[in-house]
Symmetry: C2
Subunit: 732 residues, 2 copies
């Protein structure tokens, strides 16, 4: 890519970005759009244009707000997970800024005066201008330094500088996140998950007792003073179906009533009672009065639900349970202590938040979980390495001829010459795009299949898988290009070869990645900030579909940050920028811009837009930390190879960096990780509760909505339904 | 080795064995030898010739007793560790018996009629008899089966049979040992270690409080209802030295009094008061009256000890402590729960038994421990792989010429021609023998340097190191011989080569290992059973040195089983027999004899001789289990190589065995290991104590003897001495 096209591309992206930011400034000031640009504030009952958000009517108000918000504000708005995500962005930003401060002033002059590229003969058929361009970007990189030059010392020491900056920043960040997590976890407000543990792999009870009975007697024996109540997980799909049906009918009634009320105009005081057809999608079948029909349906369904609830509670008990204790420290003790003599029975772990439980995974057995995990890892490995194979196969099958044969009704459309050309050219690409768009969903599905008990954990697992996919496919495959697969046998026989191959291919792709980073942050962040798609969808829905207040609220109901795709994408940029930081230092300002802008916009979105759907208290951090170190090690390895290629005898001076990184990762993991995997006792008792919490509320939080008794007093009845022992021991 | 010399060697060993057993039968019946042959019984206050041991006067009484003793008897006599060692022996025995039942009748005929060896031309200069011998042992092994023969299927399926027998036996044994451990741990008698936890990495306290104060306030805050008392570890070397001095003087007085009383004969009614010299070894210096002198010394030392105790308790506090809780389950909870937010502070683990604490290791910091472990592992790796190098160097330095130059007084002795020849020939061998004799001690020392807190753990660590040493050096090095080191570069570049090399070298060493196993069990067990060396030492000591009852008791004080060398040696035999089981099935009867006899003799020694010096409740088992699987995998790997060498196309049918072994090891580890590393709650509460235990006694058990207060009531004063806070919160 020559200089002109590079500048053109960056400039175009920049213009789009500015346009989008202006659009955002204009749109976000219109009150009608508030649910799109301030849903988080609205849900927390705050006025978007009052209080500390008062500056938002000014064009740069969002900027000022994003910068001035404190960390507790962020935690209040988006939870600890959002705050940790911001720490991640600012950590990478600090690494790049500290690196850039030294690398840019030192390496650029050293590289620019290296002069290796000017001695390369210009290939034939190239104009003088091309040669000029060739040197203007690439002359500022390491490619311009001659072999065996003593200038290489500057690059070599830069690798050390970047590595130590990374260690320093990561250590401070891990400490910060650890404290953030501890502070949030020791907050005095009562969270149900702090009083509960999840019990899995419950052994088969004796025939004269239910699972509930065996759980109760087991835990009462082991925790005589602290056991409160237990709730056995049930297979409540059927009850849930009936419950959802009732809720659907209730919504329909609400909607019909609004429609009916609106139809009572002056000319038609009676109004028209809304009707619908009972058949498929309301399109066929007999026409009925909606309100009457639905009310009748509900009346019919309610006893059904009640019967189903009873059956579910008593007969569909699964071999997993939530056990509630009467104090935080009792739950912490229980979740960390080995209960049974063999590990595949009565496995105990911290209970997930009620809202993020994946019920269907709870009863999975230990060995089942292990096997599922192995199978899923195998599938993901195949997807990461060979995803292009099935795509090619699909592309081959879905040629136009095949499509026409299978779906003859498409023929008249497809036979149009213009459409045909386009389709023939783009069908494989479309297949690829569809696949890439579906990939995060697929990975999320696979992660859930592992038997993970909570949403947050599944997101972390999916995020890891996606990270491997994009780093392998975008970074490695683009850099190495076709040579990767051609010489796969070479790599297997001589694993060290890959370092040389990477080192040889890296400089050629520098400009591509410069453009890639620029495009990513300018257009990507522009779209993110302006929220054009949710805006359009919201307005369309509100205009044509929504009748009741509730429906309008559902139309703008904000989603969460989507860590499972967001973090891997950021990590990809971090990996790319780190790897090129010394080879082509010019990439550092782009990286700084990416993470600085990312930080700003993420703060804005967290404070105003996204609403967290779960809270894991920053458990994502150890993963991010490990992956930054992994990126650093890829960087260190390629640099060893790259400097060796320059026939520089001291390249081996870099080798100690690799064990240093491993030791650093190990020490961090040893020191900080346990507090992320378990609850430290220190944190539990920091603000011990003065008064006893409302234990009924804690217990009820874990009852799925479709099984929830109407009144709190019915809790005993709920427990009795699960138990066979009629004379229940009273639980205090 | 030809047949004659093989038979000669085995027969000689057998004769020695029979002679030793007869000697044992004769010697053990003499009452004067009871302290040598029945020390365990004596210590437990049982009469060796009464009760259930009544048959011991008959020559085979010991055999009947060893067989008829039940497992609880073994646990009562030698603890769970001894019982687990017997389970290990019987497990290997079962594996070999089950294997032999199938392999011997099937493989011997198949091999004998293979006829591959008879087609090999007899080398020149060999008589017909040699050729005859060649076939008689080796014709019964796999070497006699021709290449590509379908007979190899029998050998291949045998490998499967042996593997599955091993899985089956190991699974049952692990289950058995796990139950054994659980039963022993849930016994109702009060053990101090069940109420205590060991706290390490205590952070530096604030200047106005001692470490003791900070421990107390920290644990009282986290465990308000269950904390009993804490004892900070102190550096009591100096106090201990004074204490030992006093004890020494007390012993001297006792001895002198006996000597004095004996000297009062009829002719000399006054007696002679015993005297000694105060200088080096009692040889030089002024002559003093022993009783008077020692009493005076004690009088002088007692106030010194008291002062030193005070200083030690208050000023030599280390950053580790033993914290005692008032219930078993509280201690179990505390030992398994993460306490501090960062893992390198307040690390908590189960307390070791008081008698096996290695005090000097307790205050070592987490990072210190990690670094020490790395360094020790590095040293052990070097010792295992390159131990021959320093030995050669030492041998070169300690030539006779050098010795003469350094130690001229040796010259007249060394210059004798006969002595000179012997020394010159044997000096390197002597160096090797001395090194091998010192090796277990060296490995034990190294293991203790890792910062391990308990004796039992150090023994396990040393045992592992010794296992690697002997398997690598005896098995691999003998089998591969010089080819191993010559082709070390080949192995590094092509790791798969080692399989072929092993496979090629194995059959040649079969006869050697047959003899090795026979020698090992016949002579080794003979010596073990007859206890000739302890017998001689005991009689010599009693006759010439011992004066008081106490000294006689010290002379026969039995040691423990010495797991750190015993188990690796047994494992070596197990590895050898497993690896040759299919190649030369004749080794199986030898292996069966080794483990059967070993089991019998170990039972006899455990029931009557050895006294355990610590109890780890079978924590050695997981290590033995893993190492048997490792031996199995070495066996499977060599068999794949060996059958491939026979150009048998189906050799790859064996490959699935390797992942099967790994999965088996993983499942066992996952299912059973946690109950060995931690205390399961189930086990703790199985027999909950009816009455409160004597908490003072539990606490006192952890006070080192040199610091122990004279009366139990002084415990509060002992605690106060460690604390700076004068108004101590009363502990209930």
């Amino acid at each position: 890519m020559d200089l002109t096209s590079f500048i053109t591309s960056v400039l175009t992206s920049f213009v789009i970005f500015v346009a989008l930011v202006l659009l955002f400034t204009w749109l976000s000031r219109r009150p009608g759009n508030a649910p799109v640009y301030y849903p988080n504030l609205l849900l927390r009952g705050l006025d978007p244009w009052a209080g500390r958000g008062r500056g938002t009517r000014s064009p740069v108000g969002w900027l000022r707000d994003a910068i001035s918000a404190s960390e507790p504000d962020v935690v209040a708005a988006g939870g600890v997970d959002a705050a940790v995500y911001l720490v991640f962005l600012s950590s990478v930003l600090s690494i790049l800024v500290y690196s850039g401060i030294v690398l840019l002033p030192v390496l650029l002059p050293v590289a620019a005066t290296g002069g290796a590229l000017s001695t390369i003969p210009i290939p034939t058929n190239k104009s003088a201008q091309s040669a000029q361009n060739f040197s203007s970007i690439e002359r500022l990189g390491m490619g311009n330094v001659p072999e065996k030059s003593m200038r290489l010392w500057a690059f070599l020491l830069s690798v050390y500088w970047v590595s130590f900056v990374t260690y320093f920043v990561l250590w401070k960040s891990y400490k910060h996140v650890s404290n953030l997590r501890a502070t949030a976890r020791s907050a005095p407000d009562v969270k149900p998950e702090e009083f509960a543990v999840l019990v899995r792999d419950i052994p088969r009870p004796s025939p004269d007792e239910t699972i509930k009975d065996s759980v109760d007697s087991y835990f009462r024996a082991l925790h005589p003073n602290t056991f409160y109540r237990s709730m056995v997980v049930t297979d409540h799909t059927k009850a849930d179906k009936i419950y959802q049906e009732i809720e659907g009918h209730k919504q329909k009634i609400a909607r019909a009533e609004v429609v009916y009320a609106n139809s009572k105009t002056e000319s038609n005081t009676e109004g028209t009672r809304p009707t619908h057809r009972t058949g498929f999608l309301g399109l066929i079948g007999t026409k009925v009065d909606t309100i009457e029909y639905c009310s009748e349906q509900i009346k019919e369904l309610l006893p059904k639900l009640e019967a189903e609830q009873k059956t579910t509670l008593h007969e569909k008990q699964q071999r997993a349970a939530i056990v509630v204790f009467n104090s935080r420290s009792a739950a912490a003790f229980a979740s960390q202590t080995l209960h049974a003599q063999v590990y595949d029975k009565w496995t105990v772990m911290e209970a997930p938040e009620p809202r993020q439980i994946i019920w269907s995974n709870l009863p999975r057995k230990l060995y089942d979980r292990q096997i599922r995990q192995c199978v899923v890892y195998g599938i993901v490995f195949l997807i990461v390495v060979f995803y292009i194979v099935p795509l090619t196969a699909i592309a081959a099958v879905t040629t136009l001829e095949n499509l026409e044969a299978k779906l003859p009704f498409l023929k008249p459309v497809v036979e149009q010459p213009a459409i045909k050309t386009v389709l023939e050219a783009y069908l494989p690409q479309i297949a690829l795009i569809v696949f890439l768009a579906l990939l995060p969903t697929l990975l999320m599905f696979l992660s859930k299949q592992e038997g993970i008990p909570s949403q947050g954990h599944a997101v972390r697992a999916a995020s890891g898988k996606y990270f491997y996919f994009i780093v392998f496919n975008v970074f490695l495959c683009y850099t190495l290009g076709s040579t990767l697969f051609k010489s796969l046998t070479t790599i297997i026989n001589h694993p060290a070869e890959i370092v040389n191959m990477l080192a040889k291919s890296l400089p050629g792709s520098a400009t591509f990645f410069l453009t890639f980073v620029a495009l990513k942050f300018l257009v990507g962040y522009g779209l993110e900030l302006s929220r054009l798609v949710p805006l359009i969808i919201f307005h369309l829905k509100r205009k044509y579909l929504c009748k009741t207040e509730e429906e309008v609220r559902a139309a703008w109901a904000p989603v969460d940050l989507g860590y499972n795709t967001r973090i891997p994408n950021d990590m990809l940029i971090a990996t790319v920028v780190l790897c090129y930081s010394v080879i082509a230092p010019l990439i550092i300002p782009f990286g700084v811009a990416y993470f600085a802008l990312g930080w700003l916009i993420a703060r804005n979105q967290i404070l105003r837009v996204y609403v967290p759907s779960y809270e894991s208290y920053g458990r994502m951090w150890p993963h991010m930390h490990t992956r930054i170190i992994a990126a650093l090690m890829v960087y260190q390895t390629t640099m060893i190879g790259f400097i060796s290629l320059k026939k520089f005898a001291y390249a081996s001076v870099l080798v100690p960096l690799l064990p240093a990184s491993i030791i650093f990762a190990y020490v961090c993991h040893m020191r900080f990780y346990p507090a992320f995997a378990k609850t430290p006792l220190e944190v539990v008792v920091r603000h011990d509760l003065k008064e006893t919490p409302n234990m009924e509320a804690i217990y009820t939080a874990y009852i799925p909505p479709c099984l929830k008794p109407d009144k709190l007093e019915d809790l005993d009845a709920f427990e009795d339904a699960q138990s066979r022992a009629t004379s229940r021991v009273p639980s205090i």
